[in-house]
Symmetry: C2
Subunit: 322 residues, 2 copies
């Protein structure tokens, strides 16, 4: 077992117990949905980052769990709302909450989790924490709105693609890291370094996700293969592929994609072509360059076991299979 696994083994039960205690205190009609989303096999990636970052920057207390877990609650709230958006029937191989509990109920449970997260953080009486979390949530929602606005848009520029993934994924991961630094009372420079690490890691995380969507079979990912392509999301593998087509071919495919005229067989062939053309690999290479930036961001950190763990967390990010 490597040091990162040992850290997870120690912290995860505490995180899960805290989350369960919060679910327990919610209204009885909310609890099943909250437990469903919290028990869905998430890696508790955001709370772990908050804890690691705070410790790497000198925090030695034992009151960080509400802050760390508020990141998981915010993330869970966005999952509940996202799954409705995507019409996703499966999440990590299980039925989505809105299929089990109804869309109306699920929207509201998402709202309740957002409110709970804010309240947990407000209890500390440290206003910058609330400010960073609210700002991150605002940017997350804005990124998701942009993503919807560009569904089936193959004229999407790569710059806008990065703006969307930074919004929908990276800002919340950045907030997890920044809040850890704020909680450790880090210097402004260190806080910025923590934020840089989180932002690069978050972008890399989504790039790997977007590559895996093309390469990972449903049996591993728990969701249908090439679901982005099916749902009309133009992600980096498709955008890079399109950029290499001759103009006429590009126009034809773009038009078919826009009008949702591709049959399941067309989509499967397109997926094969994109993967065998190396465009998923190129997406992973882009992710690798962001992971390198994240590692660079750690350079000014004082030496500590937690700093090493933050560096150690980057490798598996690229190698993950789901």
């Amino acid at each position: 077992m490597n040091p990162l696994e040992r850290f997870y083994e120690k912290e995860l039960p505490r995180i899960n117990r805290f989350l369960e205690s919060q679910a327990e205190r919610m209204h009885v009609s909310v609890r099943p949905t909250v437990r469903h989303v919290l028990d869905s096999g998430g890696k508790r990636f955001r709370p772990v980052l908050t804890i690691l970052m705070a410790r790497a920057l000198g925090y030695r207390g034992d009151d960080i769990l509400p802050l760390a877990c508020s990141l998981e609650l915010l993330h869970s709230a966005t999952l509940l709302h996202d799954d409705i958006l995507d019409g996703a029937r499966l999440r990590r191989g299980r039925q989505s909450a809105h299929v089990l509990f109804g869309s109306t109920h699920t929207i509201l449970v998402g709202d309740a989790l957002l409110a709970l997260a804010n309240r947990l953080v407000a209890e500390y009486g440290i206003p910058p924490l609330t400010r960073h979390l609210s700002e991150a949530l605002l940017r997350t929602a804005t990124g998701e709105i942009q993503e919807i606005a560009h569904l089936r848009d193959t004229d999407l520029s790569i710059a806008t693609y990065y703006e969307i993934i930074t919004g929908k994924t990276a800002f919340l991961i950045q907030a997890a890291c920044r809040c850890g630094a704020v909680f450790a009372d880090a210097s402004p420079d260190m806080e910025e370094a923590a934020a840089d690490y989180g932002l690069s890691l978050g972008i890399a995380f989504q790039l790997v996700d977007d590559a895996l969507d093309y390469t990972s079979p449903a049996s591993v990912s728990g969701k249908p293969a090439a679901s982005d392509l099916k749902e009309g999301k133009a992600t980096l593998p498709l955008l890079l592929f399109l950029a290499d087509l001759d103009p006429q071919e590009r126009r034809r495919l773009a038009e078919d994609f826009k009008m949702d005229r591709l049959t399941p067989d067309d989509l499967e062939n397109l997926r094969d072509t994109i993967v065998s053309g190396g465009y998923a690999d190129k997406t992973r290479e882009a992710a690798a360059s962001y992971l390198a930036r994240a590692e660079t961001a750690l350079a000014p950190f004082p030496a500590s076991p937690e700093r090493d763990l933050l560096a150690l967390a980057l490798g598996p990010m690229l190698d993950r299979k789901k």
Copy 2:
């Protein structure tokens, strides 16, 4: 023009300008939906309450607009999510946002408004404000979840009905008042009095809404008559009517309502019977008793023009036609 109208005439343009400035600063793809919900003819009731309450308790500054308007933004966010829930196609006589802009987009714009409200309040660096708002939002969502859980439930007790309307409506109005008091640095006793006023006013507000749903024609309210009955919401007029039926009649009606077997004619006849039986009037009487409690809560307030306006606001609440 009475003093309350004069107050509105003075404050409303400032509130609306501030809200517009916030909409202007949001991402371009969010703005149309935000403007749609903000321009939908709301009375800015919650921000006005926050301002009046703060001034009644000694606040003399000029930096209350972000706080006051955050209440309107939270309220707007819940409207966006509610309309999706209710499948409501009309809101105050105009098409609902989710019909115009799509459900998926509308859920996320609601999230963005929740986040913006939290960020505005966090900027003050006064943690109790964030705490009270988060708590109110959590309770609002919980009240709405309970309401859905009891759709078509004519066994709903009157106590649970009050729990639902307190949740879905009164806690946010209470927070508007309490935050005004906190902002004015009021004593704990005064803060509690402000919260009592807001809670009673909020319950009365929803009781009047529930009565108007039976008595107000669509041409005035901007939504279909007896929409609660059609949507399966058992509100006080129906519950009081059911309580007066003999057990056999009650069971039959309850069963038909639960199974959604009532035809449009049945529903219209039922509405007539409930109104002519005086059950909407009884609901308004219940509202009047809560308004009296709100007035009592103002008793310990120091004499001031704003205290008088808070008292003056109660009468029109009962007399409103929509």
